[in-house]
Amino acid sequence: MPRFPFTEVKTVRRWTNYSGSLPEREIPLFCTPDVVGTAGERVPRKLRRHGDALSAILEHCFTRPASSLRAIGSRWSFSSILTPELLVVDPANLNTMAAVPQHWLTPSYRQRRPSFTPMFVQGGTRIASINRRLLEKGLALQTSGAGDGHRLAGCIATGTHGSAIDLGAVHDTLLAIHLLVGPRRSLLLQPAQRVLSPDVAGWLERETGIPTEDVADAELFAAAQVGLGSLGFVHGAILETTPIYSLHGRILARPFGDADVRQTLEDLNTRRLHPDVAERPFHFEVVLHPYPRHDRPGAFVRMLWRGPGDAAPHESPLPTSPDLASDRMGMIAQLSDAIDGPLATHLLAPFISDQLERRYRPGALAPQVPGMIFGPTSLPPGNGASTEVIVALQHVRPMLALLYQVLESEAQHGRHLLGPVALRFVPQTSSLLGMSQAPLCCYVELPSVRTNEVLGIYRAFWDSLEREGIPFACHWGQLHGMTPSRVERFYGQNAERWRAARDRLLPTPEARRVFSSALLAEVGLD
C-alpha cells in the first residue's frame, strides 16, 4: 500500500453513498489527509501538510498508470458523479477558512460590493461548518442548498441550489476557485473582471507549497463553477459572503389547483400570495401533493424574506437523528414494490396528506438565521431516491401537466411515488453547466423511498418530457435521465465549451483520465 505524507491510507471493503443508490464496492486506497496522528511533531503548517499530501496523491494517480481520483464529499449525491475507482480522497480535514484582506481585493470590487466579504474556504468544509464559523464573524452565505450536510467542493461541483429567486445557486456566489490540476500545478481561476489581486494566488502557493498560477479567464471560470468533479481537485474556493441576516416568513396551505398558486408558478409574481407585503420574498418554494385530494390542502407555499441579522438568535442547529431506521425503510421499500392494486392510491394519499400538513403548517415563521433554516437532514441513510428536473419558467405548466399524467397513469398500475413534488426557482447562471440556463428556471424535485416502481416513474417522466419536446436538464447530483443527446439539446454550445475548457485545464490524456468519472461517460462530456 502506498504511503503519502500526513495521510491515513486504508482499504475500505464495503463503501456506498448516503442514499445507497450506488452499488456497494471496495475502495483499495481510501486516503484521508491530515488525520490526527499522521502529522506528528515538528510538522509544517496545516495548508502545507494538505499541499504535501495532495501533491503526493496526485503524483501517484498520474503515474501508475493514470488512475482515477475521486474526491468524495458528504456522499449526498445519488448520481454516478461519486462513483469511485481505485483511489478516493476524503477531504474531511480540508476545512480551513480565511477572509481575504481588503488590500488583496481590486479597487473596483471594493467600490462595487463594499458590504461583502470574500472568504477562502477549503473544499472539504461542510456547509454546516461554514455557517457556524461565519456566524461567529457576523457573516453568512448568500445562499445554500436545502440542507447543510454538503462539503463545499461537492456542493459547487453538482450545481447545488436553494430557492433564492433573485440570487442564484451556490456556484453563482463564487469569486474564485483553486484547482489542483497536476501534482505540482494549481490554478486560481477567477472571472476576466478580476476581484482578487495576485497576492491571493501567492498566499496559496506559499501556504500549500504548490506552484499556483493566477488566471483571470471568463471561460475557464464559467466551466469550473460547475466542474462535475472533473476539472481538477477543488482545493478551495473564494466565496462572497454577506453580513449576517435573518429569514422570516410564512407558509400557506392551499388546495392543489389553487389559481393563485398555479399562476405564480408560471410567472413568479408572488405578490398575489402576499398582498399585504410589498417586498418580493428572498426564497419561494411550493410543495405539491403527488396524489391530491379534494378535501385536503394539496399545495404548500413557503416564502421567506430577509431581515436584519439581529432580529434572530445567533445559534446553530443541534444534530438531528434519522426519522426511521434504515433497515425498516428498506423493508418498506420492498413491500411497496410487492403491493399492487388500484386501492393503493386511496390508501397512500391520506398518509401523504398527513405528512405534508404536519411538515408545512400554515402560519408565520419566526426569524431565524439561515443556518438554522437550511440545517441538518433527518433523512435516514440508505434506500433513498431523488431526481430533480429543471425547465425554463415558461415550461412549468406543460411540465407539471405531464408529471401528473405520469403519476396518475403509473398509479393506476399500483406504482407510486413515496414522497412529495417540490418546486424551487433559480435565476440564470453564468456557469456553463449550471442547470439554470434560462432567465428563470423551475427545479421540480421528486424525493422518495427508493423502490423499483419509483425508478420507473422517474424514467417515464424524463421520457415524456423528451417526447413532448420540453427542454429539460436533471440535477447533476441526483438520479438523472441525461444522455449525450439530451445534454447537447439542453446545454447547446455550452457542452462543447465546457469540454474545450477541460482540455485547456487538463491538456494530457493522463490528466483527463485522473479526473474522469462515470457520470462524464454517461452524458457524453468525456
Binding site: 463503501w15 401523504i352 423511498v449
Partner: protein, 132 residues
C-alpha cells in the same frame, strides 16, 4: 434536497379490507424488526463535522474502519443522544449506564480546551501545528 417522507406511520395507512392481509404481513415484519433488534446508542457532538472513521473494541484497540456504508450506522433499535454543546466536541470520558436498556444514561466528562504552546508577543491564532 427536499426530504422524502419517512413512512413510520405507513403501517396504519395501509388499512382496509383489500389490503388487510398485506397490512398484517407488514405489521409482522416491522414488529419482528423491532423485537429482534438489540439496543444501540448514537452519540453525536454538536457543532462538529464527520471526519475519519474508526472502530474500537473492548480491548482498548481502535483501528481505521474498513467499511463505510451509511445505512449500517442506522439500525433498528438505535437511541440517539446529543452530547453537551458545552464540551465543544472535546470529550474526556463517556460512561453509559445500562447501555443495553431502552433508557440508558450517558454521563459525559468534557475535556478542557488546550491551545498550542505559543510565544510571548506573537499572535495566538495562526495556522500552526496542533491547531485543529
Amino acid at each position: 434536497m427536499t426530504p422524502a417522507f419517512c413512512l413510520s406511520s405507513r403501517v396504519s395507512s395501509r388499512a382496509g379490507r383489500a389490503a388487510r392481509g398485506q397490512r398484517c404481513t407488514l405489521l409482522a415484519l416491522v414488529a419482528a424488526g423491532s423485537l429482534a433488534c438489540s439496543h444501540h446508542l448514537r452519540l453525536t457532538s454538536p457543532d462538529t463535522d464527520p471526519g475519519a472513521r474508526y472502530v474500537c473494541s473492548g480491548s482498548g484497540e481502535c483501528r481505521p474502519r474498513g467499511s463505510d456504508v451509511p445505512a449500517d450506522d442506522n439500525p433498528s433499535g438505535t437511541t440517539s443522544i446529543t452530547l453537551p454543546r458545552e464540551c465543544a466536541g472535546k470529550i474526556h470520558q463517556i460512561l453509559i449506564i445500562d447501555a443495553g436498556s431502552s433508557e440508558p444514561e450517558v454521563r459525559v466528562t468534557c475535556g478542557p480546551p488546550e491551545e498550542p504552546v505559543g510565544t510571548m508577543g506573537e499572535p495566538e491564532a495562526r495556522l500552526a501545528p496542533g491547531e485543529r
